[in-house]
């Protein structure tokens, strides 16, 4: 520990103090190397549309927000929710209904807020119903699972014309195709993010079009990731983790465990709602498949494959799994995908990203380097 205080005196520069907010024992990546890599990854994402299919990547990034919502709720607070897609879907449908009825920039902006609130509120209601009713463990999983099935059953039969809210027909299996283009702002002070490409020309790369929606999602994803990192490494995050590890014990330290779960669940719902809003906005469409068993299983898969105690894992695995899902072709595609999931979870039970991290740390910790200023405990000392 003396090493830490010695270091503390010397390099408590502004960046390191800033960094400390985002670091702690609950996340991986406590080194300068990590943050350099992180910045490089964000930069790569920022210029990716010049080379690849940015439209598709924007979809994966939207879904990564959904993955993150499960990661906080389950990975950090121990509540295995099968219902993130409920809040996702409610967010998406709310956005659709409100924006169809108020198709002005102000109305659409309000619809975004409504979608997020819708996701959060529905999670709050379900969470209140469960947590304050003493429902725990696998029963939470199953209640949330049944909730998605209820939503699926219900939404799948709203094809009839009697199922409309104002101007917006719910559409059942047909889905809701007439969602207005995402525009944020009011009146003249607004900007359209969907179908509004602007041409770019970069020397050495050439001409291409970039989609404002892509950058909107990128900013939201990076912001959410950093925000959640700060959250899970805060005092509140420590309590979340304690709840995950042992609810009864945590209650005996005077924490209102029920409320912690309720709050985190609601937050996760709002985040899933945001993801749903962006999903509906990007596709200009939403249908009940988002409530299907398959779709409900996906977040659990992303988070399990990526590493459930890793926010970064949720993001990376969402991008990877979704890329594979869309791009594998041929009749063996599903067999390969299934095999891949199966083998990954069997061989890397703690997840891809924690495993990679271990590999990197193991190989990097050569002689002489192990004692650097970036050993895991140093920043966690600072964060107090």
């Amino acid at each position: 520990m003396s090493r830490n205080s010695a270091n503390g005196g010397m390099n408590r520069s502004l960046p390191s103090r800033l960094r400390s907010r985002f670091e702690g024992p609950n996340t991986i990546g406590e080194s300068r190397g990590f943050w350099v890599g992180f910045a490089a990854a964000v930069a790569a994402l920022a210029i990716y549309p010049a080379f690849g299919d940015g439209s598709q990547l924007s979809l994966f990034m939207v879904l990564a927000l959904l993955g993150l919502s499960l990661s906080v709720v389950w990975g950090y607070s121990g509540v295995l929710s099968f219902g993130q897609v409920v809040f996702f879907g409610i967010g998406a449908y709310t956005f659709g209904v409100v924006s169809i009825n108020f198709a002005t920039p102000g109305g659409i902006t309000a619809a975004v807020v409504a979608g997020i609130v819708g996701g959060g509120l529905s999670a709050a209601i379900l969470g209140y119903f469960m947590f304050y009713g003493g429902v725990r463990d696998v029963y939470v999983t199953i209640i949330t699972l049944v909730s998605t099935i209820v939503m699926h059953t219900f939404m799948a039969q709203t094809a009839g014309s009697e199922w409309a809210i104002g101007e917006a027909a719910l559409g059942g299996f047909n889905g809701m195709p007439d969602i207005p283009l995402l525009t944020l702002g009011v009146g003249g002070l607004s900007y359209q993010f969907i179908y509004n490409p602007f041409p770019m020309r970069i020397l050495g790369i050439g001409a291409f079009e970039i989609s404002p929606f892509y950058y909107l999602v990128l900013v939201l994803l990076v912001g959410t990731y950093l925000g959640l990192r700060a959250l899970v490494n805060s005092d509140y995050g420590r309590v979340m983790v304690a709840v995950r590890e042992d609810e009864d014990r945590t209650e005996m330290f005077g924490y209102n465990v029920t409320r912690v779960k309720f709050v985190v669940f609601t937050l996760g719902g709002a985040l899933a709602g945001l993801s749903g809003v962006l999903y509906a906005a990007r596709n200009v469409y939403i249908d009940p498949t988002v409530f299907s068993l398959l779709f409900a299983t996906l977040p659990v898969i992303w988070v399990s494959i990526g590493g459930r105690k890793s926010l970064l894992g949720a993001v990376v695995a969402t991008l990877a799994v979704e890329y594979l899902r869309i791009s594998m072709a041929g009749e063996l595609a599903l067999v390969l995908l299934g095999t891949l999931l199966l083998v990954t979870i069997l061989v890397l039970p703690s997840g891809l990203v924690p495993w990679l991290h271990e590999q990197i740390v193991d190989t990097r910790l050569g002689p002489g380097e192990a004692g650097g200023a970036d050993t895991p405990d140093a920043p966690s000392e600072v964060s107090d």
Partner: protein, 268 residues
């Protein structure tokens, strides 16, 4: 509060007149800290605690003994709110806490160490200790309190070790440290030295005595090791078949033939 009606039930030698060494020294009057009133807990057809009236004074160190299945753990679990009482009331600092949630009781100053050690195995020792401390301390003070608690638990040097890697005795020490770090007024320990070797038993006995004397924390300690009981407490309560069977100084209790028959056995 129904103090007036229960007055007569209170042992005349009870907590109101008992004082710890520390308080005797400073001349403070002791007050009843915890009082149970006709506490009943039933599991199905089985009555685990039956009409228990039991009290602890501020700063008192009380041991709870009695045969296996007497209802000792049940009583502690009722006090912490882990179990809901079938009947009766619990008063703490003069307030009825019978219907409070466990965490609300903790925030009023009751803290507990479970019978089976239950530290957060996947978290480091430091993270374990921070959890109680962060509730009332920040920054520099928090760092100091965390370090002190770790040191008091004899775990200096183990700060970054996952709690699951500690020995049984170290886990017990850590858990007591965490419970004590809440700065409670009443600390409940359920068999804190079961399975510990002699040296660790002594370390924990020492720890309990110090917390009691220096921090003025009141204790209820369940333990079957009579030597250990004798080394920390003067007063013991014997529970039997869910009822308070005897209460009094340890020496007196140990020589009580009825207690010998139901609990201590043999010659003693």
């Amino acid at each position: 509060m129904s103090d007036t009606e229960t007055e007569s039930d209170i042992d005349p030698l009870g907590p109101n007149v008992r004082q710890t060494a520390a308080e005797l020294a400073t001349g403070d009057r002791t007050e009843t800290l915890l009082q149970t009133d006709g506490l009943v807990k039933q599991f199905g057809g089985f009555t685990a605690t039956d009409d228990v009236d039991f009290s602890v004074a501020e700063g008192e160190l009380r041991c709870l003994i009695g045969p296996n299945g007497a209802g000792k753990s049940t009583l502690l679990n009722l006090i912490t709110g882990t179990y809901e009482a079938s009947d009766g009331s619990i008063y703490y600092n003069g307030h009825d806490i019978t219907d409070l949630d466990p965490h609300e009781r903790v925030s009023r100053g009751i803290s507990m160490k479970f019978q089976v050690p239950s530290v957060y195995g996947d978290l480091s020792v430091r993270e374990n200790v921070r959890l109680p401390v962060q509730q009332f301390a920040d920054g520099e003070e928090r760092r100091r309190l965390v370090a002190e608690a770790i040191e008091a638990a004899g775990l200096t040097g183990y700060e970054d070790v996952d709690a699951s890697q500690l020995s049984h005795g170290q886990q017990q020490q850590l858990e007591i440290g965490m419970a004590a770090a809440l700065e409670p007024d009443l600390l409940l320990l359920d068999e804190p030295v079961a399975g510990l070797d002699v040296a660790e038993r002594e370390a924990i006995a020492e720890r309990i005595r110090r917390l009691n004397e220096e921090a003025g924390i009141a204790f209820i300690v369940i333990e079957h090791d009579t030597d250990f009981v004798a080394s920390i407490a003067e007063e013991v309560t014997v529970l039997h078949n869910g009822e308070v069977f005897r209460e009094g100084p340890i020496a007196e209790i140990e020589s009580d033939p009825e207690v010998q028959r139901i609990y201590l056995g043999g010659e003693s």
